[in-house]
């Protein structure tokens, strides 16, 4: 690994140093503000190094990692998302009865895991990235240790993650045993070459790898953990799980299994299509009459991954752009939604009961507006990025004639309308005087001071959603540039 390579992988290095620095400072003086400051500083440096790495020509650094435009784009996305989560968590952690410093360290290591995943072109970096991400998340999920549901969520996540990682390892081993290669290009060649019958072992291997990936993406057969972990984990961590964890893994899936979309009759394609349909249907149906806001968003994220799979299954660069843009839209929307939950949550209970949101339009108009815009974006209504995202996916789907998938997407997103509008109705429609009459439930009292930073972040996110909902061209061009570096057939 030559000296120049260090510059190319400078973002990873920055992401590695930041948690170490935060940890060291925490060892000497435990101050919450300092931890956050360092974290944000580290993330800023990482973002800076992206441009340094971009300027480098040498892309491949050791067979493990390729820092191409695609990787840099997603690392940038992850870094920004982590920064937002960190700011959102600042007020939240203040109210928790646990030491906040480790939280930031774990957050940074998780982001490093994500960055490694995104840049991975080899089983080793793929596996290690995934595991760093998972291990950091175990601790993050159970961060408020005194909460019983956090522990329960962490156990479920840990056991399932462990099991699926085992599947992942075994799958990789099988592929390596048969194909002799562990690099993304090799696997792509295999998949493109058609996993014919003679290479059954390789197909089994890839399927087992998909189990690991499927678990992280929480698509249907592996989606069972999502609602419990979303509900149990603290709100900012849930936001992190829903965005960075899923986004990084999806970016990796796109890079590794790109050619699967070219041959629509292959087993793998049919399997993934079935998973996509099942996710869309189950995700939307499960959320229909759900009363817990975090569980609703959990199920809706399952459905949204189903939509993303449709984009993944569509062939051609247009589909890549669709998936990339939808990911950014999904990031912004989910962060906004969970941001609102975070700001509304108290020390001992997250604001996930419907009664917390009753009449929010009157009590907290700004937060209600942010949540409404986020919900409309999830539903794919115009003026929001969600609309352009859904439109771009439908175009990609129609482009490669995936009519069945597109129709299922359209119909299931209709079911989605019901529970999104149901939340909005709770927020706006109940007249405040009805509220007094009904004796509002223990509406979560919001700690006034801490929420300010969070609200600023939310406002920025909402603006982002609306601006790129109306005029998405610049973002689309950026995603096109990023996706172009992938080896499209």
């Amino acid at each position: 690994m030559k000296a120049g390579d260090l510059l190319t992988i400078s973002p990873l290095i920055a992401l590695t140093l930041t948690p170490v620095v935060v940890m060291l400072f925490a060892a000497f003086r435990r101050s919450h503000g300092l931890a956050l400051g360092l974290t944000l500083g580290g993330l800023a440096v990482t973002f800076g190094t992206l441009f340094v790495s971009a300027s480098r020509t040498a892309r491949v650094v050791t067979p493990l990692v390729t820092m191409d435009a695609y990787a840099l784009f997603f690392i940038g996305l992850l870094t920004v998302a982590t920064a937002l989560v960190a700011v959102l968590s600042w007020s939240y952690l203040g109210r928790l009865r646990v030491r906040p410093e480790e939280y930031y360290v774990l957050l940074l290591t998780a982001t490093l895991g994500g960055a490694a995943l995104v840049a991975a072109t080899h089983f080793a970096s793929f596996f290690l990235g995934l595991e760093i991400l998972s291990v950091s998340l175990y601790a993050l999920i159970v961060y408020p240790v005194h909460r019983a549901d956090a522990v329960e969520a962490a156990v479920k996540y840990l056991v399932l993650a462990g099991a699926t990682s085992a599947f992942l390892v075994f799958g990789m081993a099988l592929v390596y045993a048969e194909a002799g290669t562990m690099s993304a290009a090799g696997v792509a060649k295999l998949v493109a070459g058609g996993l014919g019958s003679q290479q059954v072992v390789v197909t089994v291997g890839i399927v087992m790898i998909l189990v690991g990936v499927g678990f992280k993406l929480a698509v249907v057969p592996f989606h069972m953990w999502t609602p419990d972990v979303y509900e149990g984990a603290p709100a900012p961590v849930t936001a992190y799980v829903a965005t960075v964890s899923k986004g990084a893994v999806f970016a990796l899936l796109l890079r590794f299994l790109l050619p699967v979309s070219s041959d629509q009759s292959s087993t793998l394609f049919l399997a993934l299509a079935a998973v996509a349909v099942a996710s869309m249907v189950a995700g939307n149906l499960l959320a229909l009459r759900q009363d817990n806001v975090k569980r609703i968003l959990a199920y809706s994220s399952i459905a949204h991954l189903g939509y993303l799979l449709v984009a993944f299954l569509a062939s051609g660069e247009r589909a890549g752009v669709a998936a990339g843009f939808y990911l950014v839209a999904y990031f912004a929307t989910t962060l906004a939604a969970f941001g609102v939950i975070t700001v509304l949550s108290t020390g001992d209970r997250d604001a996930d009961q419907l009664s917390d949101y009753r009449g929010l339009g009157a009590r907290r108009p700004v937060l209600a507006a942010v949540f409404a815009v986020a919900l409309f974006s999830l539903a794919g209504m115009p003026l929001t990025m969600g609309f352009i995202g859904k439109f771009v996916i439908v175009t990609a789907g129609a482009g490669s004639a995936l009519w069945a998938l597109v129709i299922v997407l359209v119909l299931t997103s209709a079911i989605g309308l019901y529970y999104y509008t149901r939340l909005i109705v709770v927020m706006y429609v109940r007249r405040p005087e009805e509220l007094e009459l009904a004796g509002a439930g223990p509406a979560a009292r919001v700690a006034a001071a801490g929420g300010a930073a969070g609200v600023v972040v939310l406002a920025a996110l909402t603006a982002f959603l609306l601006v790129f909902g109306v005029y998405p061209s610049p973002l689309l061009r950026l995603v096109e540039h990023a996706v172009s570096t992938l080896p499209w057939p």
């Binding site: 175990y138 099991a163 081993a173």
Partner: protein
Amino acid sequence: MASVSLDHALVLAAILFAIGFAGLLTRRNLIVVLACIEIMLNAGGLAFVAAGARWGQADGQVMFLFVLAMAAAEVAVGLAIAIRFRQSLKSLDVDDADEMKG
């Protein structure tokens, strides 16, 4: 002769993996569940080493090393969480943890 025995190694790994997964499904004690996960990971490592042996490359063993590291990390956090589990739910039975459903 060499490849045959290597297939055996893979078969062995598969068997161990299956047993670990079966344990995961049946046993209710959290510690045993963690152990089963370790078994599955170990089987994965074995498969990797076998694959590496076939190609005569060191990659398999390097991957085993990483799997080893991951297993260690997993156990460490797992057991810490197990202790918290015992403290908050007063038992190690995984099925007790069904507060969140629906």
